[in-house]
Amino acid sequence: MLAEYSGVLITLAIAFLLAGGLLFAHIRLGPRRRFDEKLEPFECGERQIVSPRQRFAVKFYLVAILFVVFDVEALFFYPWGALFTELGWHGYWAMVVFTVPLVVGLLYEWMKGALEW
C-alpha cells in the first residue's frame, strides 16, 4: 500500500533538493551590492504611483466562483468515466440528469454576460 506512494515521496524529495539547492547556491554565491534605487519595485522608471495592494476587477472573483462549480462537476466525471461500461445506460442517464442543470447554468452565465471580458 505505502510502497505505491514511495515513488511520489522520493521524487518530491529529489525535487525539493534540486530546487532548494539551486536557490541556496544562488543566495550564497551571488554578489551583494545593494542601494535604495536598485531595490525599488519596477514601475517604468517612476516611483510607485499606486500601491499594488489595491482592489481589482470583480471579474476575477466571478471566474473563481465559476471554477469551483465546474471543477466539482469535473471531479464527479472522473470516477464515473473510469467505471463507465459497468454502469451502462443507467449511469449514462444519471449523468445526463446531473449535467443538464450545469449546462443550463452555463448558458445563463453566458446570456448574463458573465463570460465577457
Partner: protein, 384 residues
C-alpha cells in the same frame, strides 16, 4: 530503503530535468532561429568547442547562480522566496507518475518502469498542476509591484479556467480505456484495431471481406478520441502559460507579468518550471494519446516472442525494454517539437480570446464529447 524506486525516480528526474529541460531551452532558441531564418545561439564555448550552441543551457545556469539576489522594497521576503520553489517542485513532481516503459521480467524479478504505479496517476498530475497556480499567485502578490499583481491575476483566472476544460476533455479517454492508472492506459494502447471494424460491430456489413483485417491502426487515444487530443493539447498548453497563451507575462503589455521582480536563480526556477512542464506535457500527451512506450503495430508480446527463441527470455525482455524506452523518448521529442512549432507560429491571443476559447468553445465541446463517446460506447456494448 526501496532502492529500485529510488533508481526509477532518479532516472525520470534526470532524463526530464537534467537532459530534456536544458535541451528544450536550446531547442526553443534554435528552432525559432531556423523558423525565422537566423543562426541562433552558438556562442557559448568550452575550450573552443561549441557543438551547435548546446552549451548555452549550462552557461545559463552558471550565470543565473552567480547573479545578485535582489528582493524589492516592501516585498514579503518569505513568500517571495517560496513562490519559485513551489513552481519548480510542482513541475518536477509530475514526472513521478509518467510511465516510460512497460513491465519486464529479467532473472525472475518483474519490474515496471514508472516511479509510482498508482491508481490515481492522472488525478495526481491535475492536483500538482493546480498547485503550480499557487506559485504564480504568491509570486505576483509578494513582489509589491503593480505589473506583478496584474500578471498574477491574469494567470490565476487563466489557469483555473483551463483546469476545468483540461479535466473534462480527457474524461472521454478514461471512458474508452476504463482506468485512471497511467501504465494500464499505455498497456491498453499497446494493441491495434480494425479501421473498418465498426461496420461489422453494428451489423451494417456482415461479414467483412478478409482484406479489411489488414487495415489496422494502433489502439491509441489520438485515434479513438481525436477531438479530446486537440482540446487537451490546447488546454494544457494554456495551463502552462506559454505562447500563444502567454497573456500573464505578455511582455508588450505588463513588462514580465508575475515574475517582473524576479532575477537570478529565483527567476531561473520559474523559467525551469516552464520548460520542465513542456516535457511533462509531452510525456502526458504521449501516455494518454500516443501509446506511451508502445511501438505502433508491434506489441510487446510479439517483440519478446520473436527474440526469446534466439537469445533466451531475459535478453528478450531487456531488448524489449530498450526498444520501449527509446520509442518513448522519440515520441516525447516529437511532441516537444510540436509545442515549439506552435509557440513560434501563433501570435499571442488577447485576454478575452483566451477566456472565450476556454468557456465558450472548449467547455461545451468537451461536455458534448463525453456524451457522444458514451453513446457510442454503450451502443457497441449493446451489440455484444
Amino acid at each position: 530503503m526501496p532502492w529500485d524506486v529510488v533508481a526509477k525516480s532518479l532516472f525520470i528526474v534526470v532524463v526530464g530535468v537534467g537532459v530534456f529541460a536544458p535541451v528544450v531551452t536550446w531547442v526553443e532558441r534554435k528552432q525559432s532561429a531556423v523558423m525565422q531564418d537566423r543562426i541562433g545561439a552558438n556562442r557559448a564555448d568550452l575550450f573552443g568547442i561549441r557543438i551547435l550552441g548546446l552549451l548555452h543551457p549550462a552557461a545559463d545556469v552558471i550565470k543565473l547562480i552567480f547573479k545578485e539576489d535582489v528582493v524589492p522594497h516592501g516585498a514579503n521576503r518569505a513568500l517571495h522566496l517560496t513562490a519559485p520553489l513551489i513552481a519548480a517542485v510542482a513541475a518536477i513532481v509530475s514526472f513521478a507518475v509518467i510511465p516510460y516503459g512497460g513491465e519486464y521480467t529479467v532473472g525472475g524479478t518483474t519490474f515496471s518502469l514508472v516511479a509510482a504505479d498508482v491508481d490515481w496517476g492522472l488525478l495526481f498530475i491535475f492536483a500538482v498542476g493546480a498547485l503550480a497556480a499557487y506559485g504564480t499567485v504568491i509570486a505576483g502578490w509578494a513582489s509589491n509591484n503593480n505589473w506583478s499583481l496584474l500578471g498574477s491575476l491574469r494567470a490565476t483566472a487563466q489557469m483555473i479556467s483551463y483546469e476545468v476544460t483540461m479535466g473534462l476533455s480527457v474524461v472521454g479517454v478514461f471512458m474508452v480505456f476504463q482506468t485512471l492508472r497511467l501504465p494500464e492506459m499505455v498497456h491498453a494502447q499497446d494493441a491495434t484495431f480494425r479501421l473498418l471494424g465498426f461496420l461489422e460491430v453494428f451489423g451494417w456489413v456482415d461479414p467483412l471481406p478478409a482484406w479489411s483485417d489488414w487495415i489496422r491502426l494502433p489502439r491509441w487515444g489520438v485515434f479513438l478520441q481525436p477531438l479530446a487530443f486537440v482540446m487537451f493539447l490546447a488546454a494544457i498548453m494554456a495551463e502552462n502559460k506559454r505562447p500563444p497563451f502567454d497573456v500573464p507575462e505578455g511582455d508588450s503589455e505588463i513588462v514580465a507579468g508575475y515574475h517582473t521582480e524576479y532575477s537570478g536563480m529565483r527567476f531561473g526556477l520559474f523559467f525551469m518550471a516552464e520548460f520542465i512542464e513542456v516535457v511533462v506535457i509531452a510525456g502526458l500527451m504521449v501516455t494518454l494519446f500516443l501509446g506511451g512506450w508502445s511501438v505502433p503495430w508491434l506489441s510487446s508480446e510479439r517483440i519478446v516472442a520473436g527474440i526469446t527463441p534466439l537469445f533466451g527470455g531475459g535478453f528478450a525482455n531487456l531488448f524489449c525494454m530498450l526498444v520501449h524506452v527509446t520509442t518513448w523518448l522519440v515520441k516525447v521529442s516529437a511532441l516537444i517539437w510540436l509545442q515549439m512549432a506552435l509557440r513560434w507560429t501563433l501570435p499571442r491571443f488577447r485576454y478575452d480570446q483566451v477566456m472565450d476559447l476556454c468557456w465558450k468553445i472548449l467547455l461545451p465541446l468537451s461536455i458534448a464529447n463525453i456524451f457522444v463517446t458514451g453513446t457510442i460506447l454503450l451502443l457497441i456494448e449493446g451489440t455484444r
